[in-house]
Amino acid sequence: MSGGDMRGWSRRGLLAAAGLGGVAALAGCGSGAFQQTVGTVPAAYRKRAHLVFWHSMGGANMAVLTELTTKFNQSQSDVFVELQFQGSYERTMQKLATAIVARQIPDLVLLSEITWRKMHLADALEPFDAYFDDELRPENYIDQFIQEGTVQGKLWWLPFARSTPLYYFNRTLFEKAGLPAAGPESWEQLKQWAPAIMRQKTKAGHAKVLALGSVYASWYLQSNIWSWGGHYSKGLEVTLDSPESVAAARFMVDFIRKDGAAYLSAKQDQDLANGICASYFGSTGGLKQAELLAKGGKYEVGTAFLPKHDGNFGCPTGGSGIGILRYAPSARKQAAWEYLKFLGRPANSAHWTVGTGYLPVVKAAQQEPELVKAAKDPNQLTALKQLPLTKPQDLVRPVVSNAGDMMDQALTKLYSSNADVADVFSRLDKQLRSRADLIRAAYDKHYH
């Protein structure tokens, strides 16, 4: 047994490992050409420019997106857009980040009101300004949405599936309890109504007043924070442990723990259908599904503005828009623009809105016959009427990496345990502050 052989082996092994390490480190350091991610092109479309569009639309919404995209592919002979479903907005963003590391990217990505800002900070997005032409101008879109996607005078994020939170309630149950069919106007009112609602007999016995979701909990609570006079942050300055923010959260926590009127749920819309809750907060994009469930359960679902507090109203915008990857070759970016122009046609935008419940993003869509007819549904109107009162969220949630997830986690902890609000918020405040410091340089560069 000669020790020499042993050393030889391990040296060779080390060399191999080190060599490979060099390659792997390179991937992180950013060199090498970007390639389009793997996809499949049907034989009929082989000769066209092939685009890959990553999106997060499941169920009924996916069907409408597929329908529009197929229409686009058939309407011309140069471009083929392939849809690739990536799961939730967050997962799509995470996949995009790892795709950039792997230098294997899509051309178009559906990004939420949160994830686009992270991609923008990472310099991954292409500004749209140079692409606009007579066929599609920024003015075609609802101004508010264009403003939200504009940073330092450039538009990075094109409105598409925009939404706001809505208050969904079982109108039949409310009427049975002798309450107004329009839903509550304020939190105080809802709290007052709670005993009457919880007395009603339902399929499940008795219903609680309000189901709170764990997904996007901090999006919904933004409304409360504002109407209690607080903020998640001012710019990057985190203000979560301000007395107003804590009071807003404490109200919700008391509604759960003291009044026993609210609870944490994994599937609020199903709970409404089963008579487990009488109301919940949901996105505009869930309207079609809620109406479908109501039809099956033989009750009427109502939508209302988010409740006020002390006469103050606050409501964030949400949903998603489309970004073009900066790293894609210019021919594909140009082709992508053709697709976006197609989606931006008033008739197509109206069709998307009617099929999904998302807000119309193109002004002219509201005059399209299809949308005019659908807008007779009062539920579809709620979001439209609420829209002018909405504004983009406080910046910490969209800009600081992983902030949304950390905030949702802290809130679900409050909703599902006996943890103290002030404690949880001051810890969260501290964590977000230190994470905000990590991106401060990039933030200053991009926003000032």
Binding site: V38, G58, G59, Q104, G285
Partner: protein
């Protein structure tokens, strides 16, 4: 006294059976419950609804997912077992200085858990350009410790005279491996293959991390995708897709349960 204890034992037997089987039963019945009844409690399905299977098949590219799962599982298991056979033969029959030390180095890799290697391995396959390729899904998982260990333990029990005789006849080591050792190790090889097949079929986190397109995803990842969408989840379809994943394994298990049980519990009794 005696009949009472016997009765108690049978009661225990039934309790174990029911506890183990009920979730599987629940999977099967929920998967044939229509979406409007799926959120109601029922011991037995009132009607058998195959629509979920149709929905599930339509809501994700299941044909592709299935194809990918089969390719990844079979190729992965095959390569892994080949790798294991080669190295176990070397450790059992060939001379090398400090062989035991090398063997310990190999065994040590078993202590490295999958979660720990996740991100570095992703970066490695990214650097190799293997994201969204079969190589990227398969190769990081085919290094073999446990299978190699089991095979080596088995090979060391083989009568020495057989391999010697073959070599005297002029056969080289590859021939000995192929013509003598492998045929004599067939039960263990089958065990190792079946265990590898089950593990790779169920693997979730690595295919999740190493793929980002439907044309490369495997069944468990596809199933997560059906659940994880903006808007709403068709739970009936999700359950049906769970059946697609579970049933092949159940079938394999009931055919080859002896090998699977032997393989998975071997570390306790062998060695």
């Amino acid at each position: 006294m005696k009949p009472l204890t016997t009765t108690l034992k049978y009661v225990g037997l039934v309790v174990v059976l029911v506890c183990a089987f009920v979730p599987i039963y629940w999977l099967l019945t929920t998967s044939v419950t229509s979406p409007d009844k799926i959120f109601q409690f029922q011991w037995f399905p009132t009607s058998v609804e195959w629509q979920n299977y149709v929905d599930s098949w339509a809501s994700a590219p299941f044909a592709t997912l299935y194809k990918n799962s089969v390719i990844v599982t079979l190729l992965g298991a095959l390569i892994q077992v080949c790798v294991a056979i080669l190295s176990s033969y070397a450790f059992a029959f060939l001379r090398f200085p400090a062989k035991n030390l090398v063997f310990m180095l190999f065994l040590g890799a078993m202590m490295v858990p999958g979660t720990v290697v996740l991100m570095p391995n992703f970066l490695t396959i990214a650097a190799l350009g293997w994201v969204n390729t079969y190589a990227g899904i398969i190769v990081p998982g085919v290094g073999s410790v446990f299978a190699m260990f089991l095979l080596r333990q088995h090979m060391m029990t083989l009568p020495h005279e057989v391999t010697e005789a073959a070599k005297v006849d002029g056969a080289n080591h590859l021939r000995v491996l192929w013509n003598v050792v492998l045929p004599m190790s067939r039960p263990m090889v089958v065990t190792v293959i079946v265990v590898a097949v089950v593990e790779k079929w169920n693997d979730f986190v690595w295919p999740l991390v190493s793929t980002s397109t439907d044309s490369m995803r495997t069944l468990p990842v596809g199933m997560l995708m059906i659940q994880d969408s903006e808007g709403f989840t068709n739970w009936g379809a999700v359950m049906a897709s769970a059946v697609f994943i579970v049933v092949p394994v159940l079938v394999v298990f009931f055919i080859a349960q002896r090998q699977i049980i032997a393989g998975l519990t071997a570390g306790a009794t062998k060695g």
